[in-house]
């Protein structure tokens, strides 16, 4: 019987701790959450794993719920657009009092922070409140921080295409590793691999610099300009807009190859799939590939190399080894 009672207590305790965790997460979300609050939260979390797992669970869910915002914006005017709408209606009706509230809320625009991430093989479209659009490619993590002064995003890894509403009063800045890209026009993409950064401009202008370090001259990119930066070098090249749009084939789920070495094509496929292509024979690495392929269809691609080059494909679980 005492066992039963103990169980009854633990039963209510489980729900109770989840409710407490939700209250903490709510408090954590407040604008005035300070270091004293943080210390209190840390102490509560350290008290027991019950608290910790309940908090991790609600924190994870609340972060994921960001997606509600990202996907609802296109269908539903929110934030500034709606405020503009309210202001217009108010102006039309001559409601000074309502205008007062709108002006107040404009001054008080909060800092908006979101984290977006795509899994291998996925893409996601983000629409910001200002109408700017960002498309995330496979295996990408991007954080946004929109303040009344500026729009700043961190491309922690992966690749993204930016179509930005230019607004000199509210600069749009992409932070990627050791470099920083500032929008001076409209459309560009940034690819951030572990040790390499590639920036290309489709329309308008963008500036790339080493996070404001003065010993490195900022590069201003015009349409067709491509910059590849590593920790120790910056290389500028010019490409045709057609070449660049081929590089953006992923936005339609396609990979476009022009005289691409088999090894490089395999590396591209491997970005999009858990199933990996391995070149088992260095002699075939430089065979060249032309064509447009669905990025998620590894089987079709390896089959084609079999047909065209007479390669041997050996499947080992999630790995397809190509050899002569």
């Amino acid at each position: 019987m005492s066992d039963n009672q103990e169980q009854q207590q633990s039963v209510s305790a489980a729900k109770d701790v989840r409710v407490q965790a939700s209250r903490w997460r709510e408090r954590r979300d407040r604008e005035d959450f300070g270091s004293a609050d943080q210390a209190e939260l840390d102490a509560w979390l350290a008290q027991s794993p019950d608290n910790m797992v309940a908090y991790l669970r609600v924190d994870d869910a609340w972060s994921r719920a960001d997606r509600l915002g990202a996907l609802r914006r296109p269908t539903r005017p929110v934030g500034p657009e709606r405020r503009v709408l309210i202001a217009r209606i108010a102006a039309a009706l001559g409601l000074a009092a309502v205008l007062g509230v709108v002006a107040y809320s404009e001054m008080d625009t909060p800092v908006r922070e979101h984290t977006y991430a795509t899994a291998i093989g996925n893409r996601e479209q983000i629409r910001l409140a200002d109408g700017s659009e960002i498309e995330l490619n496979t295996d990408t993590t991007l954080r946004t921080r929109i303040t009344p002064q500026e729009r700043r995003v961190w491309l922690d890894k992966g690749e993204a295409y930016f179509n930005i509403r230019h607004d000199a009063a509210h600069p749009f800045i992409v932070m990627a590793g050791t470099h920083r890209v500032t929008d001076l026009g409209t459309k560009f993409f940034v690819r951030h691999d572990s040790d390499r950064l590639e920036v290309a401009v489709m329309e308008g202008k963008a500036q790339v610099d080493a996070n404001g370090k003065t010993d490195v001259k900022p590069a201003v990119l015009l349409p067709g300009d491509v910059v590849v930066a590593t920790a120790s070098s910056i290389l500028e090249t010019k490409k045709s807009v057609q070449d660049l749009s081929d590089k953006l084939g992923w936005r339609q789920g396609m990979l476009v190859f022009h005289h691409t070495a088999l090894a490089d094509a395999a590396a591209e496929f491997n970005r999009y799939n858990r199933e990996k292509i391995v070149i088992g024979d260095s002699a075939i690495a430089r065979l060249t590939i032309n064509g447009t392929f669905p990025s998620r269809n590894v089987g079709d691609f390896t089959h084609l190399t079999q047909e065209v080059f007479g390669l041997h494909v050996e499947k080992q679980g999630d790995i397809a080894v190509l050899s002569r």
Binding site: V53, Y55, D66
Partner: protein, 192 residues
């Protein structure tokens, strides 16, 4: 080379000398939480009183988390279900009503194997559907507060003004909304 201060996780404690905490937390969020709907399904199917599932789930999490603090189990899925099964067996023993079908073997239910499962894109889509469904199920005022906060990004003060309620009440609605969304994202019944 990337600077990666992760804003979402900054609330979690990083006490000096236990660098492992954040690794365990990351692992738990990445590997264990996504198993919740399968775990709840297993618990509801295997335990007589379906109403206990939430508490059993929480207890499984605690035991898994404690074990991971010593050493992170890999792969996660079979380990989580083994913990769940042991927990059910211990509960059954305590209640002196061990019956053979009390604890189904997760393997025979086809849910404990560590396999890729459906397409990631499909999962992401499902998750969004669940989130929207959970949002729609919230009581109207609670839903309104969550929408103003999460979708419109308004500060509490402004939500309170718009809804004509105190900031404390806004906070209550938001906390209740968070609780329900955390259930809804894993497709658990949140009616209580």
């Amino acid at each position: 080379m990337a600077e990666t201060p992760d804003k979402n996780r900054e609330a979690l404690p990083q006490p000096a000398g236990s660098a492992g905490v954040s690794a365990v937390n990351d692992w738990f969020v990445r590997e264990v939480l996504p198993l919740e709907s399968a775990l709840m399904q297993f618990l509801r199917r295997s335990w007589r009183n379906r109403g206990d599932a939430e508490d059993l789930c929480h207890d499984v999490y605690v035991k898994v988390y404690e074990a991971a603090s010593r050493e992170i189990p890999d792969p996660a899925k079979p380990f989580v279900f083994a913990v769940a099964r042991n927990l059910l067996i211990n509960r059954s023993r305590r209640e002196q009503i061990v019956s053979i079908d009390t604890v189904a073997d997760p393997d025979t239910l086809g849910i404990a194997r560590d396999e890729p499962g459906p397409d990631r894109a499909a999962i992401a889509k499902q998750e969004l559907h669940r989130l929207q469904a959970a949002l729609d199920r919230l009581p109207p005022r609670c839903r309104e507060a969550v929408v103003l906060r999460k979708i419109e990004g308004l500060p509490r003060r402004e939500i309170a003004q718009r809804m004509g309620i105190s900031e404390a009440t806004v906070a209550e609605h938001l906390a209740a909304g968070m609780y329900a969304l955390a259930d809804g994202i894993h497709e658990n019944e949140s009616g209580r």
